[in-house]
Amino acid sequence: MRLAAENLTVVFGHGSRAHVALDDVSVGVAEGTTLGLVGESGSGKSTLAKALVGLVRPRTGRILLDGADVSALRGARLAAVRRRVQMISQDPYSSLNPRMTVGQAIAEAIDPRRADHRRHADAVTGWLETVALDGDAAARYPHEFSGGQRQRIAIARALAAEPEVVVADEITSALDCSVQAEVLNLLAGLRERLRLTMVFISHDLAVVRHVSDEVAVMNRGRIVEYGPCRRVYRSPAHPYTRRLLGSVPAFPLQESR
């Protein structure tokens, strides 16, 4: 397993207001594969994502990166490990600093200490082109882009850190379907080329099915079903999974195919 969570429990608040966000969760993703995470709002998907990248400290349990426990690290060693696992978040509005140009943001991902956007101009242009944006986007500020364009910038920034694992939290929910298709294909290509390992979170069951090798279905902080993608979709074992699959608005598009 490249990245794994072992008996992870995350609790927010304390005393009478304690809320168990993750309850004894164990999942893993093998090198070069993609784990899909589905579940409804508040089921703990984003919390699991944040725990995996170290933004949320688990109360109990461990996070293993290549078999080594990283949940106890602090300081410089934590910083070094962190860059190996990057997260792309859901909201393209809050994921980019409005006071930094796109070029500065990507340069910061390449070199977080100096973030010199002139020195890294070529690399910045390269990453922008990877996500189908023009190089001249580097000089502009996030507010000059629409939501979908911003999400592509966020993806470019995450990739620019050249991580081994990418945790993608609802990254296509803000994209148009044609761009979504483009980004999904792009991620598929990068996965192969960079042997990228991914945890892919989405409420869109169709999208998860499209990109994942394995799927974990979450409900109320627990994983209720976990298995190969094909098996889970074809013969869901847990009633909750069946309910989720049943609540997708059927949208037959026969004629356009």
Binding site: E108, P112, F145, C177, S178, E255, R257
Partner: protein, 606 residues
């Protein structure tokens, strides 16, 4: 990104002039201010414009000379308040959650204590004198900064880009200087100018009471004190310092208001640049249409057209969806209708009206604010982080509908209840960052429908939400539409979402409307335009075949607004392009009841 409003410019220019006086006056009038003329308590005369004081010194000269000390003390007290407050605020925020809660409570108590009383306590402890007064007022004003800093830092630090910076390994001091401070600077600047005016009056008050500057030194407060003693013999003696204090305070207020207005996303509504254009021939909206848009274009100053001559209408009670790739001009079209275009772009239209309200001219702000409700794409930027929810929700009601404070609050609570926010009474007292994304978006909807608008514009209201919250928000919009008959313009890039909510759909590409069709047609994939068909084909499906090939994509990218081809903008990507497509832009042609498409190939047998 400060907007240079007239008030801000005037305030800054005025303060600069006052500062100049402070700098120059002691050299120019220093002697005159000390000169004993022998004529004590003399009235206004040509030699002494404001008369003389008890020792026969010229009051005008003394007022001008006192400017320097007054400004220095005020600036020092403001600086102390700012630095101390920001330090306390950051410390409280950086400390763990338990310390934070207690700290915030404490700060709240101190803020509700009048600064002057706190200052009197400090001055009583430290004794009278200018240094004590400055320290006292500085300390007394610091809780206001502490609270704002703590609440702003919490709201900015909660945004994803700060977390991302930490993941990327950006060192903490850089996170502070590059990510946090620049994003909280604006509200702090506003408070700084408010505090400047506040410390000025407070310091003058202390000097007036004899607790501040001690003779023979003098500031405006001390002059006011001696002036008031002679109010019956020479009223002008008190007028000089009084006017100086008031004027400087008002100028600082101008700066504060100017800064605040410039950073308010909703300010400047209805003041964007507009001009009429020639009517579009052959296009007529049906009678009784609520919103009629005719030949609307939005352009950059260089003439680049971001939105290129779109025409459409919305019937009363109808929900019209707008779909298209990002950058196709959906938001700009909607914002042009709401008169909320960003700075730097201009709109032209042959006609644009909502019922009897003409939206092309100088539309009345009150009618705009109450008749068009807007739900923004970005729930985190739509509320001011420094203010509580209650005031922001009721602003339009109080300002434009003349509803009293208590009633407005009651209606806000009801509206929050209606959008199924639990414990609305406590929510109105919270700051925006204390609510979750879904709650904020629902509160946004509540605030948009509160004044009872005729048209609700929702720009990707569910994009930042996840699926079950999204379903709730959609249901909520449908409910409002059914119950109130509110017409809606619903913008989304998600064809599935549009399909569940809307009655009719407009498809946009590269700044133009390329197809208009009933939602039922979209649902079954009965689209005429090659672009709409491509969009539908690129949507991944749940019942997709087992073999997982790459998704169908539309090859290429939409052209940049400045580089649109002369003919059909979709031509370079179109699988069925004809020779004429490269040269002639296709005009929308009706293809049936409530349908039209702008494509040369539509109707041509393939």
């Amino acid at each position: 990104m400060i907007r240079w409003t007239a008030g801000l410019k005037a305030g800054l220019a005025g303060l600069a002039a006052v500062a100049l006086v402070g700098l120059a006056a002691p050299y120019l009038f220093g002697e005159a201010a000390q000169q004993l003329s022998g004529a004590a308590r003399e009235g206004v005369s040509a030699g002494h414009w404001l008369g003389t004081d008890a020792l026969g010194r010229d009051v005008l000269a003394r007022t001008l000379v006192a400017t320097r000390l007054t400004l220095l003390m005020t600036a020092a007290a403001t600086a102390i308040a700012g630095v101390l407050g920001i330090l306390i605020g950051t410390t409280v925020w950086v400390a763990g959650p338990r310390v934070r809660e207690t700290g915030l409570r404490l700060i709240d108590v101190m803020v509700s204590y009048p600064a002057v009383i706190l200052a009197l306590v400090v001055a009583a402890i430290l004794g009278a004198g200018p240094v004590a007064a400055v320290l006292a007022i500085g300390v007394a004003w610091s809780p206001a900064f502490a609270r704002l800093t703590a609440s702003l830092a919490a709201s900015v630090a909660g945004r994803d880009f700060v977390a991302t910076a930490r993941l990327l390994g950006v060192p903490p001091y850089r996170v502070l200087t590059r990510h946090l401070l620049p994003n909280i600077a604006e509200p702090l600047l506003v408070l700084l100018s408010v505090a400047f005016a506040g410390t000025l009056t407070a310091l003058s008050g202390l000097s007036f009471l004899g607790l501040g500057v001690q003779p023979p030194a003098y500031d405006w407060g001390a002059l006011l004190d001696t002036g008031l003693e002679a109010i019956y013999t020479n009223p002008a003696e008190a007028v000089g310092p009084a006017v100086a204090i008031t004027l400087t305070g008002v100028l600082a207020g101008f700066v504060g208001d100017g800064l605040a207005a410039g950073s308010d996303p909703r300010a400047g509504r209805g003041r964007d640049g507009w001009s009429p254009s020639a009517p579009v021939p052959g296009r007529r909206a049906p009678d009784g249409a609520l919103l009629v848009v005719d030949g609307l274009s939005v352009e950059l100053p260089g003439g680049v057209r971001l939105v290129d001559g779109v025409s459409f209408h919305v019937m009363p009670g109808e929900i019209v969806g707008v779909v298209g790739e990002s950058g196709s001009g959906k938001s700009l079209t909607a914002m042009a209708v709401a008169r909320l275009l960003p700075d730097g772009v201009r709109a032209t239209a042959a006609g644009l009206r909502l019922g009897d309200l003409d939206l092309t001219g100088r539309a009345e702000p009150a009618r705009l604010a109450t008749e068009i409700g807007v739900v923004y794409q970005d729930p985190s930027a739509s509320f001011n982080p420094a203010l509580r929810m209650g005031g922001q929700l009721t602003e339009v009601l109080r300002r434009h509908r003349g509803v009293g404070r208590a009633e407005a609050r009651e209606r806000a609570v009801k509206a929050l209840e209606a959008v199924r926010i639990l414990q609305p009474e406590t929510v109105v007292r919270r700051h925006p960052h204390e609510l979750s994304g879904g709650m904020r978006q629902r509160a946004m909807i509540a605030s948009a429908v509160l004044p009872g608008p005729r048209l609700l514009i929702a720009d990707e209201p569910t994009t930042a939400l996840d699926v079950t919250v999204q379903a709730e928000v959609l249901e909520l919009l449908k409910e409002i539409n059914t119950a109130e008959g509110t017409a809606m313009m619903f913008i989304s890039h998600d064809i599935g979402v549009v399909g569940t909510l809307c009655d009719r759909v407009l498809v946009m590409y590269a700044g133009r409307i390329v197809e208009e069709l009933p939602v039922a047609d979209l649902r079954v994939g009965r689209a005429a335009h090659p672009y709409t068909r491509a969009l539908l084909a690129a949507t991944p499906r749940l019942d997709e075949d087992e073999e997982r090939g790459p998704l169908t994509t539309v090859p290429g990218r939409p052209p940049a607004p400045s580089a649109r081809p002369g003919g059909c903008a979709f031509a370079p990507r179109c699988p069925v392009a004809l020779p004429i497509c490269a040269t002639d832009p296709p005009a929308p042609v009706p293809t049936g009841e409530g349908r039209s498409a702008a494509c040369h190939a539509v109707g041509v047998p393939s």
